[in-house]
Symmetry: C2
Subunit: 134 residues, 2 copies
Amino acid sequence: MTASQTTDLLRQHGLRPTRQRIALASLLFDGHPRHVTAESLKEQVKASGIKLSLATIYNTLHQFTAAGLLKEIKGISDVTWFDTNINSHHHFLDTSNNHLIDIPASSITITNLPKTPAGKVINGVEVIVRLTDG
Amino acid sequence: MTASQTTDLLRQHGLRPTRQRIALASLLFDGHPRHVTAESLKEQVKASGIKLSLATIYNTLHQFTAAGLLKEIKGISDVTWFDTNINSHHHFLDTSNNHLIDIPASSITITNLPKTPAGKVINGVEVIVRLTDG
DNA sequence: TATTTTATTTAAAACCATTCTAATCTACTT
DNA sequence: AAGTAGATTAGAATGGTTTTAAATAAAATA
């Protein structure tokens, strides 16, 4: 994605195209699905010679999430993941190396789910398949 | 559960029946399914007039888990839950009040799961159904 | 373009659930 | 009863994440 395309993408989502956001967006939205944590992204940023603070990485990840560009995956393992695949889907969690692998939503069929408690509405169904070496 | 039954339970699992463990075990294993966090348990303990440290609550919850008396549920919401239901099962997470509700394993059928990655073994499948008010 | 306004970035401090430390205490063994 | 291995504890440390408040940069206005 060119810098100008990245700029457009940011503007389309109401985000000012700052140097930092452009750098992060071009790392993240290269067309390949990507799972990042704040720390892993910080290392990628560092490896590409860009300098920006960890606070900005957190801010930006949350802003991208609010804008619908990322999906936040809390609670799998101890750190928060951000996924460029914003469609509903599930995950393998490889606990031996703490990596996530996408499982398409279509790959899993859930039947016989009990009745939703009164006054409540289902907001999402998440399946985590934990893997170990073996 | 009487104190002597609690003592037996602890001994059967290789745990010394200390005052603290007996107190926690009798709160937890009253026959009703229970979801606790370290903090929620601390408050129950406090309410029953027992005095013990938060470190002991954490220690004990982990020891009970290691002994197979509890199941640890990491990653749903920001805190670690401990569940007296040690059978394989799933959860509703009511995000409006951060409560968990059990879903029996038999209530959910998963089909079409993709092939497990080479060299890996499935260690558990966890389904989280997020609820909101509405 | 210069100026003003508003949003963004940042380093450092704060936060908070959880774990660790190391001193004290308690249950079990002999 | 004495010894020892295990348990408890207060308080410090940890680590991912958030907040703060000051500096900077982008957009709007003149």
